[in-house]
Symmetry: D2
Subunit: 336 residues, 4 copies
């Protein structure tokens, strides 16, 4: 089996390509899956650099998101069968309800290995069917970014038609949040530092756009676009630089879904209390959330925005492209 | 002031046209509203016939739903001002939260009089702004049927994009439920006994239709259209004849919103428990619900389906048309 | 390994005691558990009689509820270790969230075998720790009856202090519902046909009791005890005979948790709609619910009510005692 | 009518005693209430000092919380009658649901005047019945502090029996939160800087106490008391100094109810995101919340903790006592 390991925690240069023995056959309730495509998230770079603490051991297989085909099932497996097209959940063993105490995420080098490889053994509960209209490359974009966006919109009470949501920039979560919010019948206000990107956000369905470089006090523009009320929901991905603006842009009694603030959470500012905002972090989601999202994706034949696709041999290039932050949409690895 | 009163509880023939003295000026927190249009609901006929019990006293002014213009406000009024275009809430004094113990509905002859008249005095809390793109006739259709449909879809956890809802027939609630469900991104399966009406339901956005005359076991058709799963939600308006079919058509763990079962609630059948369905009656909704709905209507520029419009002098004809059950959409009275 | 099988679907007489080969060692994520105690639920008798349909195949091992000790764990197991005192969940593989499509209950003869045996192989996700102050016999009463009662009180929004709940009779679910409702700070009104049993219910904490034999229209007594308002919640276990009374006893806008209506669901009656009651069946609950319940049981050192304990050799006697309906509290089997 | 006005925004010295003409008789849906007792909250001092901005105009009547007797009702009033013992809601006109856009709080000098006077005119919707076992002085403590505490425990999903809540210090909200949490069956961990006060908190029902002066890293003590898990809920009243400790003391996936952070909201710190905590400010609550709380207070005959009672002539002394922060429980003014 071909795979990549982070041999040294030093960034992209620490990544090594290897050939290793094949996996054993699946045990009870286990599934052997061929990984046909994977996709990259910002967290991969943070892990590779050791930016989230020194608990991560070298030699792990990185990357959480992968899609492919069931090639063998162990005893007792009922949810899938060989030949099924499946995508793996971001968390091991989180079927539904609240995040289990013992659950880990794929590709963190801890307990569950990542997807940068030819085949993987997973529990049957950790797989969902790929919506028919999606290719493996497209499905590989869903486990982390899409599900985070979905739950940012509906974990604490779904967004309603006619409500307003603000999405920030052109990262994977924000693009999915924009696309999903339109399915919910919401009004979407999208921000970016580039007018060219704003034009693409409009094409994806944004009802209004704001260039936060030319309008640094972009909350005012949100208030103006909402008759002075503010947005019902802000999907906050930016961290320190944007949090106070997000608070100012949110309606009295509204909420802020906080995504990916892996480091440095700033003060929300005084408006947070006086205006009665709820703030909740979004931790991707469970398999049942994934299935619910996939029904929406399938019914509306929604297509993820893919920035670029790299061959399995070119993973380091793909990671450098991610690092450059020049992408618009997801970066995908085609494994075969 | 011109108005109608139900002089005798004997049906449409008991209705009398009258001229009465004008209303006094509005007191503190009261609003004098000119009623420009009203709309009819099935309950008006039930009240007129005394079909809901003998508590109803003759001589009441019927009809719950009316829209118009603020012509004067009393001391302390802050929510509206003269000239504002407004529509009244179905319940007096239900701003938000749960239905207050003492709240009554308009046009029940009890405490709050109805809308078949030129002007009415209401509390300032009992009015909502008319979405700009709607005429008074269109706005007059919203208080009962539209808000019932809205809450049938979202009172017990909003419908999600990609979920399936069944709407029954072509009454006002069912047509609004169809239109709203599309705003929520849901799949709609609509039933009717007439292929001609089914064609119109398809035009309104229904994803699938079933003629329940030619397919009396229509639950099977719903199961087939949902890969055997059943609908996530059924908006049950039919009562005894359809309830068991509705239960059979609903997904394991799904729910049934029960609308307008004013008489004769049947057994839900065994499937109800075994398949874990929740059943909840929908009692129109609060003013805050109304405002939330109006934001969706306004943003999507949704137009109510109006069957026909009658002059104020022709109210008895309008009621007979309602009684004939030949309408498709709401029956409206133009007051001036 | 000693065990019982339902050799013939003919009731208690179809049960046979057997000795069979030991189980294999646990596979990945599996746990071998010694069953020290089990407890009986009414459903065991329905299955044994074939009363729920002819899908049940003979030769299954009955009984869903069992508690004991971990004696071995398979590869990858993290949640438990040998020596841990554990109780198994009623549903296989329902960790949290909504009931999975493929989940089955223990002891239904279908996919997962029951607890009337010395040892059992389960997935590590299907076990919860026994609260320290409980014996194995006491813990064996929890999986079905206690968790059903817990979720009847809090699945659709927890009962609040000062609210009123009605519990019916002296079955396992009703006694747990009474005990739990007191932990929630609620007022409990308990019904029974026997004054002697009512006295015991008062000892368990009931704030008011009603003999439904001497007061067949017991809803009136509930209204009287609640200033005419009715109960916020009724835990309905009785079925056809009581359902209309339950509806009449429930507060406007209240709800009815329906438990165990395995056959013959009656009409809720007209009051259901007019008074805006929600009706929801309770399907036991997930492992996360079980853990939440156990924290309450542990903190309050709550003791289940055990009617009687039988030796493993006397299971048929225990089942006959269950059938006689003379018990007050749970019937337990001590396996060793 | 005797009353107090804040003649100058300069603190307690700006308060003046006056005699003014009696109020007019109540208009439609209005109620004239004799104020028998009022109680003080920290916000009164902030307003008097102008600490919350310069929008506040001099000459307002301060104090939000008052209880008394209905002495006259206007036309159309149905909820109360002369002689009823009532307490006023903190917000005007917030019956249920979300906080209305136009609602203000009593005693802010803006639209609705405060309670430091003999009689007051209120809308009939803005009153709730006093639980029978409470005196007027006791009832006067409820509108702000008690309802804030109640909603801190249950606004975003009620606290469950066996869950753990942390309450901070000995202010009015924290004492009510402690007392209410015991009604919910929760475990309460209370903090204070004084061992003498901790002893009184234990008497009120606290299950564990922490002296945050001798244990400044009190989150560690909370973790220790909860097997390393942390509290399910922290009722955060302290602001900047304690917020990071509160985050560290909260269970993965838990929540923090933020109370009274009228100035200076600090950063929640990194743990907030990584541990998935929700943060929500509590804005007292609606009249329906108040009624729900009162049912709990009435059923459990809960008594508010009153620190001291001052005569109406001694309001400045009462305010100085509040300012000294030496009180334990509420400070009450007896008006007659």
């Amino acid at each position: 089996m071909k795979l990549y390991r982070c041999a040294r925690i030093e960034g992209i240069t620490g990544l090594e390509f290897r050939e290793e023995p094949d996996l054993p056959p699946p045990g009870p309730h286990q599934v052997l899956m061929k990984v046909n495509a994977s996709s990259l998230n910002a967290r991969e770079l943070l892990f590779m650099r050791g930016a989230l603490g020194d608990w991560l051991q070298p030699n792990y297989i990185p990357v959480s998101d992968g899609a492919g085909t069931v090639i063998a099932v162990g005893p007792g497996v009922r949810r899938v069968k060989p030949g099924d097209r499946v995508v793996a959940t971001f968390y091991e063993n989180w079927v539904g309800g609240t995040l289990p105490q013992h659950s880990d995420t794929l590709g963190r080098g801890a307990i569950v290995e990542g997807m940068l490889r030819e085949t993987v053994l997973l529990g049957e509960e950790e797989l969902v069917a790929i919506p028919e209209h999606l290719s493996d490359e497209e499905a590989a974009t869903l486990p982390c970014a899409a599900l985070t966006a979905w739950n940012a919109l509906c974990e604490h009470g779904p967004l309603l038609p006619g409500q307003t949501v603000v999405v920030q920039g052109t990262g994977g979560v924000s693009l999915f949040a924009l696309q999903f919010a339109k399915l919910f019948g919401a009004r979407v206000i999208a921000t970016s530092s580039s007018d060219a990107k704003l034009a693409r956000l409009t094409q994806l369905g944004a009802d209004a756009t704001i260039n936060y470089r030319s309008t640094p006090r972009w909350a005012d523009a949100v208030l103006e676009a909402t008759d002075g009320d503010g947005a019902d929901l802000v999907v906050e991905v930016g961290g320190a630089a944007t949090f106070a603006e997000s608070v100012a842009a949110t309606r009295k009694g509204g909420r802020i879904s906080v995504v990916g603030m892996l480091t440095g959470v700033p003060s929300p500012g005084d408006g947070f209390f006086m205006r009665g905002l709820s703030i909740a972090p979004i931790h991707v989601g469970s398999r049942q959330d994934f299935e619910t999202m996939n029904r929406a994706i399938g019914f509306h034949r929604l297509k993820p925005v893919i920035d670029s696709t790299f061959a399995f041999a070119d993973v380091p290039d793909a990671l450098r492209h991610l690092e450059s932050q020049r992408h618009f949409g997801k970066i995908v690895i085609l494994h075969a």
